[in-house]
């Protein structure tokens, strides 16, 4: 491919000329966005790409970035949003990859660099500029500066002399506002001209004055300070004043914690109150899709596969989507507003006690809605061990899928005592939290030793969050979830369906006694009960049923009978499945609505062992509850753990330790309760 100088007016639809022959010619030039974490880089990226962007990993790493095709000056180009960084001296994996890309050693080789600078925080952002100018020169890739948030700077009386800045930086400077879209057509055409153009004139990037002592860092900061002074005069006095006022409360030792609790309460209230509507619709849609197809398709294995297996499995996954979306939407708003940094700040002191950084707290709270977005949001934690420890313990938090199981068990135990029911519910939540903190403490002392990285965090100025950004991020996270979790979940759903369907049990396979019961039921016209009984016998005869019966001795010390053991096995991929499994096993069919929960608890309460003792004794119920608080029992979470840790080993470890913990705790619970005569 030609590496000739750019033609002044390239013909339409021909790719832009590229400065190097890194193989990008066919797809157009690659342009990398670089900038500080709070420079509004992502807003700028979103403004340029919109919905055409997608999230991908850099080859061979777990480092995520967003990329999207853009029309630049009438031609197609690829825009890459690199992870934010303060300096090219990287300390985290994300920063390392960003640095490699910038200096031309990364998995992608950009043809041009766009540095995004926050105009309201010029001095700090110019530090990175000094390093980037050097990198641009040494790799011979042209760069330009997008001076973002110009509207905000102007509002606060910051006037930036663009010509002076261009002179000092030796590259074009384009004032823009990613929020309002101001200056984007100029930016667009400037990027178009940039590709293939020669690098700028050499400029100083470190202060050479004799007065400054110290390291290269210091000289760069001095340079940044003098460049900022020349271009914008003295720093604005009004900027940051509101932030200071708000922070007097929000970072206060006591008030800050109360504020944090209030913000989180509001977030979760929103999630729970809003998510229930779409969740109901999804459940309704899944049910009617199943119904419709069930009527169309001839009865048989194929219908069962489609209706029970695939539609049920996909529905079971999609039902979490509203919570995931709302959670990410809220987190994005909080992050954009600058609040999340404060949350990490106020929680840091408390979290350090269990060996986790303050940044782990928001993921831990999020895990109370669903562990999946929580694990995905641990990326803010810089230290690998801190992040791993957090990921490992997150699924111990009571997520919303545990609620139906708790509700069932608590209904069995204390249906007529709301106070006791509330107490046990709270205790179950507390058990999850305590277990998570204790395990984190343990992991940080044994498996992942090392002091928690002490907190250093920029507290950016508060600003109005962008709805557009939040929606785009939500859309992006939802897509990632469906793509990554969806495929694996579908496969496992299929396996589980097969395991609970085969081998099939026909009427002739039943014992004479069972046959008589069914015939009698049919004779009195109670076909529904007969069908449910048949379903019960079928599940008993299936692979799942056999596994449940085989492993019953394993669970017997926990007070579980073989039906409960089947429940545990069948809910391996999704814990809430145990409710419908028990429902089938106790002859109620698999659709559990509110009325039937009552019927189910009634059935369960009256079921007895062959020796006449109650199956669901207080001890067995408590044991079952403790088991479900602590056990992994969620395949989508496992898939996400694999994705985020990059290894099946950690995933297996997470499953293993949680299962052992759940088993041990349930064993202690059952044996203790039984010893106190509750068995």
């Amino acid at each position: 491919m030609s590496t000739a100088a750019p033609a002044p007016t390239p013909t339409k639809d021909a790719p832009l000329p590229v400065a190097n022959d890194s193989g990008s010619a066919a797809r157009g030039p690659v342009i990398a966005l670089v900038g500080n974490p709070n420079s509004g880089k992502t807003s700028l990226f979103n403004r340029l790409t919109g919905l055409r962007a997608q999230t991908a990993n850099f080859a061979g790493t777990t480092v995520e970035h967003r990329r999207g095709r853009v029309r630049i000056a009438g031609h197609s180009a690829e825009l890459i949003d690199l992870p934010g960084l303060y300096s090219l001296d990287a300390t985290t994996p994300d920063e390392r990859v960003a640095r490699q890309v910038v200096v031309g050693e990364g998995p992608v080789k950009p043809d041009a660099l766009v540095l995004v600078i926050d105009a309201t925080n010029l001095e700090r952002n110019l530090f990175l500029a000094s390093q980037l100018i050097e990198a641009s020169r040494s790799t011979e890739r042209p760069m330009l500066v997008a001076l973002n948030m110009m509207d905000l700077a102007t509002k606060h009386g910051v006037h930036i002399d663009r010509k002076k800045l261009e002179h000092d930086l030796g590259c074009p400077v384009l004032p823009v506002s990613a929020r309002s879209g101001e200056g984007f057509s100029e930016l667009n055409s400037a990027i178009g001209k940039l590709v293939g153009s020669p690098v700028g004139l050499p400029v100083q990037t470190q202060c050479a004055c004799s007065g400054c002592a110290g390291c290269a860092f210091s000289r760069r900061y001095d340079w940044a300070e003098s460049v900022a002074r020349r271009a914008a005069g003295d720093p604005s006095v009004t900027l940051g004043r509101t932030t200071e006022k708000i922070d007097r409360f929000l970072t206060h030792r006591v008030v800050g914690l109360i504020g944090f609790a209030a913000v989180m309460f509001a977030t979760f209230w929103t999630i729970y109150s809003l998510a229930s509507y779409p969740m109901d619709w999804i459940e309704g849609l899944t049910a009617s899709a199943g119904d419709l197809l069930g009527r169309w398709l001839p009865a048989g294995d194929f219908r069962s596969l489609i209706v029970d297996g695939i539609i049920g499995g996909v529905g079971g996954m999609l039902v979490f989507l509203p919570q995931i979306c709302i959670l990410f939407f809220m987190l994005s708003l909080l992050e954009d507003s600058g609040y999340l940094a404060r949350a990490a700040f106020v929680m840091d002191r408390l979290m350090q006690r269990v060996g986790l950084p303050g940044k782990a707290f928001v993921p831990m709270l999020s895990a109370h809605a669903c562990a999946i977005p929580a694990i995905m949001s641990t990326r803010v934690i810089e230290d690998r061990r801190d992040r791993l420890a957090t990921i490992l313990v997150l699924p111990l938090m009571t997520c919303s899928a545990r609620v139906p199981v708790y509700a069932l068990v608590i209904a069995l135990l204390f249906s007529n005592s709301p106070v006791m029911a509330a107490t046990v519910f709270t205790a179950a939540y507390a058990l999850g939290i305590v277990a998570a903190l204790a395990m984190a403490w343990l992991f940080k002392r044994t498996l992942l030793p090392g002091e928690t990285r002490p907190l250093v965090i920029e507290l950016p100025n508060y600003r109005l969050p962008s709805l557009r950004n939040a929606l785009l991020q939500t859309y992006d996270r939802a897509t990632v979830f469906i793509k990554n979790a969806g495929t694996t979940i579908l496969l496992i759903t299929f396996v589980l369906w097969a395991a609970s369907t085969y081998p099939k049990t026909s009427f002739e396979d039943l014992t004479a006694e069972q046959q008589t019961t069914i015939i009698q039921l049919e004779e009195v016209g109670d076909t529904e009960t007969a069908e449910h009984l048949m379903a019960e016998y079928s599940l008993e005869g299936s692979i799942t049923g056999h596994i449940g019966q085989t492993i019953e001795p394993v669970f017997a010390p926990l007070g579980f009978d073989w039906k409960m053991s089947i429940g545990v096995v069948s809910s391996f991929a999704a814990r809430e499945v145990i409710v419908s499994t028990l429902s089938v096993l106790y002859g109620l069919g698999d659709e559990v609505d509110h009325d039937q929960t009552a019927t189910l608890t009634d059935r369960l309460r009256h079921s007895t062992h062959t020796d006449g003792t109650k199956v669901f004794s207080t001890a067995a119920c408590l044991s079952l509850l403790v088991f479900y608080v602590l056990a992994m029992q969620c395949l989508p979470t496992q898939v996400v753990t694999k994705r985020e840790t990059g290894s099946w080993r950690w995933t297996a470890f997470q499953f293993g330790y949680m299962t052992v913990l759940a088993y041990g705790a349930a064993l202690v619970t059952y044996q203790t309760a039984a010893a106190f005569g509750l068995g």
């Binding site: 300096s87 300390t91 002592a213 900061y221 840091d348 002191r349 350090q352 250093v456 100025n461």
Partner: protein, 88 residues
Amino acid sequence: MPPTSTQPARLSEAPAGGVFRVVRVDAESQDADRLKAMGVCRGRRLSLIQNGDPLIVCVVGSRVGMSSRLADTVYVELECLPSPPSEA
């Protein structure tokens, strides 16, 4: 501490409201790099906005939160203490 004191003190023990110059950073290399990237390195000037754990400094035009464990490793010299700190 008198406003003209030149005795280096730990940032974690410095009075809130003061403006300081960093004279030494003893943090281990990775943490020192993180501090440098935020603008806390030898010769830089910063002001302490709020003390405690974690504390808040203003450096290179923005506010930075820092755990006091890390602030223990940052030695500073007082440059000026404008008015008596608002929160005594």
